[in-house]
């Protein structure tokens, strides 16, 4: 597959299911690698997507990860049905985390996920409604 047009796809993510955590991002990574795009770009996409996937898995009941690949960039939208984020500014701070023990035991809860998405994306947007859910939108350019 050579990227000469636009490709779209999506993954469903179930909350609380650590056994499949990361599979969506891994699959997206495989798709990009087989399309022959640069390793460094693939790495940025994989990291940003993985952090978004993990947050849905950890904090939400369920969510969907949608992607649009075009020759110049990839757009990723991670949307969930979950508790939402009360204070987005606080959540964006490095080191801020409300991760419970079962999550920390699995190596998560450094409070670096959202800052990491922002670092790897060229455009980063987060919207959240308490009691409804959270939506993260990222554009990563080649």
């Amino acid at each position: 597959m050579k990227i000469d047009k636009t490709y779209e796809g999506s993954f469903h993510i179930v909350g609380g299911d650590f056994s499949h955590a990361g599979e969506a991002s891994t699959e997206l990574k495989t798709i990009l690698l087989s399309a022959g795009v640069e390793d460094e770009f693939v790495r940025r996409v994989a990291i940003a997507t993985f952090e978004a996937e993990m947050n849905i898995m950890i904090y939400a009941t369920a969510g969907i990860l949608r992607y649009t690949i075009s020759p110049e960039e990839i757009r990723i939208i991670a949307e969930d049905m979950g508790p939402g984020i009360e204070n987005i500014e606080l959540a964006m701070q490095e080191g801020y985390s409300t991760a419970p023990d079962w999550v920390r035991e699995m190596g998560w809860g450094a409070g670096m996920g959202l800052p990491n998405m922002k670092k790897n994306a060229d455009t980063f947007r987060i919207d959240s409604v308490v009691g409804e859910g959270t939506k993260v939108e990222m554009i990563i350019r080649r």
Binding site: G22, R43, F50, M106, G109, M112, N116
Partner: protein, 115 residues
């Protein structure tokens, strides 16, 4: 640093490896926090971690990390071993603590992933 040098310095047991032992590993990253790995690491590194779980392998695969070392002789479960085999990640177990393992590699010239 060559993979075989890492194995030797850490007195490591090789659990999975599909890589040439002459392979050059450029950097090291040591943490139990997966987001730290994703934030600070580079590709072609070794991850030294006390988190002997699938998460460490999954995270390493995402971050293009080629070699993972579990410290203090921690034995991973079969799913973790299967995943590292599938992802072609070299998985090692060292009897040393994280501190000692890092010290041994640092002493011989391996350095932290640059920020």
């Amino acid at each position: 640093m060559r993979l075989k040098e890492i194995i030797r310095l850490l007195d490591a047991v090789v659990i999975t490896n599909s890589r040439d032992s002459e392979a050059e590993i450029e950097w090291a990253c040591a943490t139990d926090l997966m987001s730290d790995v994703l934030y600070y690491s580079r590709g072609n590194s070794v991850l030294i971690t006390g988190l002997a779980k699938q998460q460490a392998i999954r995270t390493s695969d995402i971050a293009d990390i080629k070699v993972v070392v579990f410290t203090r002789g921690k034995e991973p479960d079969t799913q973790t071993i299967e995943l590292s085999r599938k992802k072609k990640i070299t998985l090692l177990i060292t009897p040393y603590s994280m501190f000692t393992a890092c010290g041994k590699l640092y002493e011989k010239g391996l350095r932290c992933c640059p920020e």
